[in-house]
């Protein structure tokens, strides 16, 4: 370093020192000379800000009228700030990034009057509607902060939340497929606040395509008073471990009569199962069940595992007939889609079967999903423990379903569903008895959904149903061979319009049915009913139909939904016009009145036509429905409903009489050839009461009681009798209590008076004999209590749910209808009843990864 460099460095140092001194002197001088007294507090704070304090304050806390009266004495700016704030009940609080926040002092806050802890709570009641259509939305989850139990909107879109702590509350309404809506309400103790919330479909038209793997709201039709829906979670709690029997869930629903433990069939309001429409993923079919066809009273089980069901809705009375024409109720099942999130695997082992379900995303960016499920019986059904006379069978079924978003607004769905049931009864000594048999059914269902302009949805579907069965005798001869085929194309379109939703659709289908009675027909003494075995037929038919349904929110409280369906079938001469009108009136907060009326038709199926006398021209069966229901929501998730219904039926097909009857003390033994005439006029009337609590926590379930009378008159034979499925009193109770998200216990109790034993029987001398009047003898009252406990554990990276179930806990001896016979010599009827399921213990495990 030379001298000049050293002198330059010294000069720079001097300049720096001088600059530092110049900077320092004014700061201390300002601090010491600033006067705060007499200024407004805000000005004083700004002065301190200029001294480098990062003070943040607002005009609501540091109000303009606050002034500094006493000059602060503290030596530092930070402590002077404290002195300035203290007289005004304010304080400085350190914040992030050296920010100093001016807030009200904690001590001052303590001095504010406290709210009494005993203050009364308030109530929030409200209505949730579709923002576009103004139609009420049912099943919307409503949450209120400060209230631990969520509420669901009822069928009228209404909700009620009690015991809301007073104060500002945030009400949140959420439903899959809709944008979340939040409202802020001021709730005062002892008062009720009313709110209406409109839910808009989620942001894009594509929403429904990508959220289908999520639990969805079951379809709800305003005004269908007799409608019950179950989502996947409820379904899983109910479907049972013994046989993974999905229909067992339906058996426990309100207004359902099911008094045969071994059968999937059920009756609704006295209507036989053949009047009930079963719809699976938009496919209306009768053949998805494992059973033994041509065997009369036998066992059956649904051709679906409960692990693949998304939701189910049972509708009775008058309802929109979108899928087909039926006289009675409709069971609408939706199969779930695979996960778009990741690969998942679940396996379940229950009392008599094992199920494996795999699912996962499909394609890049999870544009679709796949799901494959298989179920295999481990034991036969009915279980041999039951010691039933029903023919046992083994079964397996499977489902493959793929969903793919081909393009935004365009989605393709392909599903293949099927199953096989096998009979192996080779141990019977008689060569003419049933030896073995096979029953197969499959459904191939391809659907394409298009969305236009964010609102119009067009769904096109083509499906093929194939069903076949063959039964052989012990000697190996063919006894029965039959089947049914169906192919249908259908298109449905839905379009929101102001204050309503317009739906329309059309379909065309071809169906064929055949039965080949082989040379191995059993003799007349066989317990196999002759009427169902020895008449062969082969036929086909075309059906075309279209429908329109308009749901209209006439006012915020009243919804009217008229509709019509026109069907032309090659089986009958004239087209049928099914029509319905549904009304719903939200009378008052928590109250709703539903009324529905309709005229429905059902075409005679091919089997009935082929049995009929050639001279008879078949007509469609028809029924007039009227339902009136009143519903009251009692609490957040509790409601009761009372329904009165009446149904008048005409031209109902009469089943062939299998057994003889007495006419003027003479036994008339043969099959009645007039079986297929539209001979019956009937009526069904009753009342239904239901109390329901749906909640994701604590107790959930329902108690339903039904009283009904269903009676038929055959004018051609001048006789009137109770319907085969007439049940006067029915009690369906279901409850599950969730102790935690891992532990729950549940119970189902179904009880009631029982159905008549079909036929001309009378009870004498402790036995059954051929009689004069039909359906005079009833089965004894039915009662069955099932209990179940579930416990979920987490291990090996998955979840294991262990379940223990006891069926028929009371070990009551219930009796069902069997294939009886009449002894010609004495007229005694034997074997007409069969004992049902005894107490049975079942354990199962469900493993999910």
């Amino acid at each position: 370093m030379n001298e000049s460099t050293a002198s330059s460095g010294a000069a720079v140092a001097l300049v720096l020192a001088a600059a530092l001194a110049l900077c320092a002197v004014p700061a201390s001088a300002q601090t010491s000379t600033d006067k705060y007294a007499g200024r407004s507090l805000a000005e004083a704070l700004r002065l301190l800000q200029s001294h480098g304090l990062r003070i943040v304050f607002t005009s609501t806390v540091v109000t303009p009228e606050l002034r500094v009266d006493v000059e602060p004495r503290a030596p530092t700016a930070r402590r002077r700030l404290d002195e300035l704030l203290a007289p005004h009940g304010l304080e400085a609080r350190d914040g992030p990034g050296e920010v100093i926040q001016v807030v009200r002092a904690t001590s001052a806050a303590r001095e504010r009057p406290r709210q009494s802890p005993a203050v009364a709570s308030g109530t929030i009641e409200g209505l949730v509607v579709h923002a576009d259509t103004r139609l009420p939305l049912a099943g919307v989850v409503v949450q209120v902060d400060g209230v631990t139990v969520d509420s669901l909107t009822d069928r009228a879109g209404r909700f009620l939340v009690r015991r809301v702590p007073p104060g500002t509350r945030m009400v949140r309404a959420a439903a899959t497929g809709f944008a979340v809506v939040v409202r802020v309400l001021e709730v005062k103790g002892g008062t009720t606040v009313t709110v209406e919330m409109s839910l808009s479909p989620a942001a894009t038209t594509h929403t429904e395509y990508v959220e289908v793997s999520e639990p969805r709201l079951p379809r709800h039709d305003p005004g269908v008073s007799s409608e019950t829906s179950l989502d996947r979670r409820e379904w899983e709690r109910l479907h049972g471990g013994l046989a993974d029997q999905p229909m067992r869930v339906v058996h426990a629903l309100p207004r359902v009569s099911a008094v045969d433990d071994f059968q999937v069939d059920f009756a609704v309001r006295g209507s036989p199962f053949r009047h009930v429409e079963v719809v699976v993923d938009g496919v209306s079919t009768d053949w998805l069940r494992h059973t033994v066809y041509g065997r009369g009273a036998t066992g059956s089980i649904g051709m679906l595992t409960g692990q693949v069901l998304e939701d189910a809705t049972l509708r009775a009375g008058a309802y929109p007939h979108r899928y087909g024409d039926r006289l009675g109720a409709q069971l609408d099942l939706t199969l779930r889609e695979g996960s778009r999130d990741r690969f998942r695997l679940r396996g379940a082992v229950g009392g008599i079967n094992a199920t494996l379900v795999g699912e996962g995303p499909l394609g890049r960016s999870a544009r679709g999903s796949w799901l494959v499920a298989g179920r295999q019986s481990l034991l036969e059904w009915p279980d041999e423990r039951a010691q039933s006379t029903r023919t046992p069978f083994g079964f397996s079924d499977w489902l493959a379903k793929a969903v793919y978003d081909v393009h935004p607004g365009q989605q393709a769905v392909l599903s293949v569903l099927g199953g096989t049931s096998n009979i192996d009864a080779e141990d019977h000594p008689s060569p003419t008895e049933l030896g073995d048999g096979t029953n197969r059914a499959s459904v191939v269902n391809f659907a394409w959904r298009s969305t236009f302009e964010s609102a119009v949805v067009l769904k096109q579907r083509i499906y093929l149903v194939r069903h076949s069965y063959v039964n052989k005798t012990q000697s190996g001869q063919q006894w029965h061979r039959g089947g049914n085929d169906e192919i249908v194309y259908r298109a449905d379109v839905a379009r929101p319009i102001p204050h309503g939703l317009l739906e329309a659709g059309a379909q065309a289908g071809w169906a064929a049915s055949r039965l080949d009675a082989g040379p191995g027909d059993p003799p007349a003494s066989s317990r196999i009913p002759a009427a169902s075995s020895n008449v062969g037929f082969d036929g086909s038919s075309w059906t075309r139909s279209s429908y329109a349904h308009f749901a209209w929110a006439a006012t915020p409280a009243i919804t009217l939904s008229p509709g019509v369906r026109v069907t032309k079938s090659s089986l009958v001469r004239n087209p049928t016009v099914t029509r319905w009108i549904l009304g719903q009136w939200a009378l008052a907060p928590g109250w709703a009145l539903d009324a529905s009326a309709g005229l429905t038709y059902q075409m005679p199926n091919l089997r009935y036509l082929n049995r009929g006398a050639p001279s008879l021209e078949p007509r469609p069966e028809r029924a007039r429905h009227l339902d009136i229901a009143i519903e009251r929501r009692l609490a957040e998730s509790v409601r009761w409903q009372a329904t009165v219904f009446t149904r008048n039926e005409s031209d109902v097909l009469r089943d062939p009489e299998v057994h003889p009857r007495l006419v003027d003390a003479v036994e008339v033994p043969t099959l009645d050839e007039s079986c297929c005439a539209n001979a019956l006029q009937g009526s069904s009337r009753g009342i239904e009461l239901m109390v329901e609590r749906r909640s994701s926590t604590g107790l959930s379930g329902w108690a339903a009681y039904s009283f009904g009378k269903t009676r038929y008159t055959d004018a051609s034979r001048a006789e009137t009798f109770w319907a085969d499925f007439d049940q006067r009193h029915a009690l369906n109770l279901f409850g599950v209590y969730r102790f935690s998200d891992r532990t729950s216990v549940g119970a189902t109790w179904r009880a009631g008076t029982n159905f008549p034993i079909p036929g001309y029987l009378e009870a004498r001398n402790g036995g059954l004999f051929v009689g004069h009047r039909r359906n005079q003898v009833r089965l004894p009252a039915y009662s069955r209590l099932d209990v179940r406990a579930d416990r979920t554990l987490e291990s090996f990276g998955g979840r294991v749910t262990l379940s223990v179930e006891v069926l028929n806990v009371m070990n009551r001896v219930n009796v069902g209808i069997a294939n009886g016979s009449v002894r010609p010599s004495t007229g005694e009827a034997v074997g007409f009843t069969d004992t049902l399921l005894p107490r049975s213990l079942s354990a199962g495990a469900l493993v999910r990864f």
């Binding site: 720079v12 300049v15 720096l16 001088a18 600059a19 110049l22 900077c23 805000a42 704070l45 700004r46 800000q49 990062r54 003070i55 943040v56 304050f57 607002t58 005009s59 609501t60 806390v61 540091v62 609080r93 914040g95 992030p96 990034g97 920010v99 926040q101 001016v102 807030v103 009200r104 806050a109 504010r112 902060d145 400060g146 104060g167 500002t168 945030m170 949140r172 944008a179 979340v180 939040v182 802020v184 001021e186 989620a202 942001a203 894009t204 594509h206 929403t207 395509y209 990508v210 959220e211 394609g363 890049r364 960016s365 999870a366 544009r367 978003d405 081909v406 393009h407 935004p408 964010s454």
Partner: protein, 273 residues
């Protein structure tokens, strides 16, 4: 002090940017890391072309961020554009930016003209919206927070509304709902332009912070909303993250807030639970 400043300026190293190729169209508002710029796509030698806050960005000038860097720039029409880590983009003209790597987030005022993000895969155009465009391996992902964005790819175009994510690949476009709030958007808030609150009303501040996070803003009652519009803020939260700034402002206003599923609920202080 003046002499010190003069000295510092005299001793300041030359950090002049690479010569811009066109008119200034944007200015750097905030940086996190060391973003760089260059007149040419591949001419970004190490240590050169560092961007600083308030630097002007010229049309045709490339901006690049590395794995730890983000940058926010504001266009002359008021549109805020933020580059995520690992991004490369350049403004082509006022209201047009080209993205060749990474992701940009666009927050344009409602009154602005259509803002375009051009990519090798497709072009996204909006009117008054907030959206993110991210280039993927062989595709592009668009997330729309508010408004509507049109994604054009040759003769085909896909329109995406708020709350939508569209993934565009050679196989086509897939759309699904996407929340306007959530951790996926955090990076955009992290590089948001600083809030200048001095003299600002509380309601304007809350509107801005809610927009920044994709929240819906709700007040406990209409009276509180009126009070918020008349409450004035004083001080500075300049270097605070948006959520920190929110906490400070809410606290100093004697209020409280709650976040629930994308809803920012502003309550009176006594109602905080």
């Amino acid at each position: 002090l003046a002499s010190l400043v003069a000295l510092a300026l005299a001793l300041r190293p030359d950090v002049r940017p690479v010569a811009p190729g066109g008119q200034p169209v944007a200015v750097v508002e905030r940086i996190d890391g060391t973003p760089r710029r260059s007149a040419h796509l591949k001419a970004l030698p190490e240590g050169e072309g560092r961007l600083s806050v308030r630097d002007a960005i010229h049309a045709g000038e490339w901006i690049a961020t590395d794995a730890r860097t983000r940058v926010a720039v504001r266009f002359s029409d008021g549109t805020s554009v933020r580059l995520d880590v690992g991004s490369r983009a350049r403004p082509l003209a006022p209201g047009v930016i080209e993205l060749t790597a990474g992701a940009v987030y666009v927050d344009s005022p409602g009154e602005s003209a259509r803002f375009e993000v051009r990519t090798p895969v497709a072009t996204a155009r909006d009117v008054g919206t907030q959206f993110e465009v991210r280039l993927l391996d062989g595709g592009l992902r668009l997330r729309v927070r508010t408004g509507t964005v049109e994604l054009g790819n040759g003769p085909r175009s896909v329109s995406a509304r708020d709350g939508t994510e569209v993934t565009l690949t050679t196989a086509g476009a897939v759309s699904r709902p996407f929340a306007a709030h959530g951790p996926e958007w955090d990076w955009t808030a992290g590089i948001s332009p600083p809030f200048d609150i001095e003299g600002l009303s509380l309601s304007v501040f809350l509107d801005r912070i809610a927009r920044e996070h994709g929240w819906a803003l709700q007040y406990a009652d209409s009276a509180l909303a009126r009070e918020a519009s008349s409450t004035l803020l004083h001080g500075s939260v300049h270097d605070l993250a948006p959520r920190e700034a929110l906490d400070v402002v809410i606290t100093t206003s004697g209020l409280s807030h709650r976040l629930d599923d994308g809803v920012l609920l502003v309550l009176r202080g006594a109602e905080a639970r």
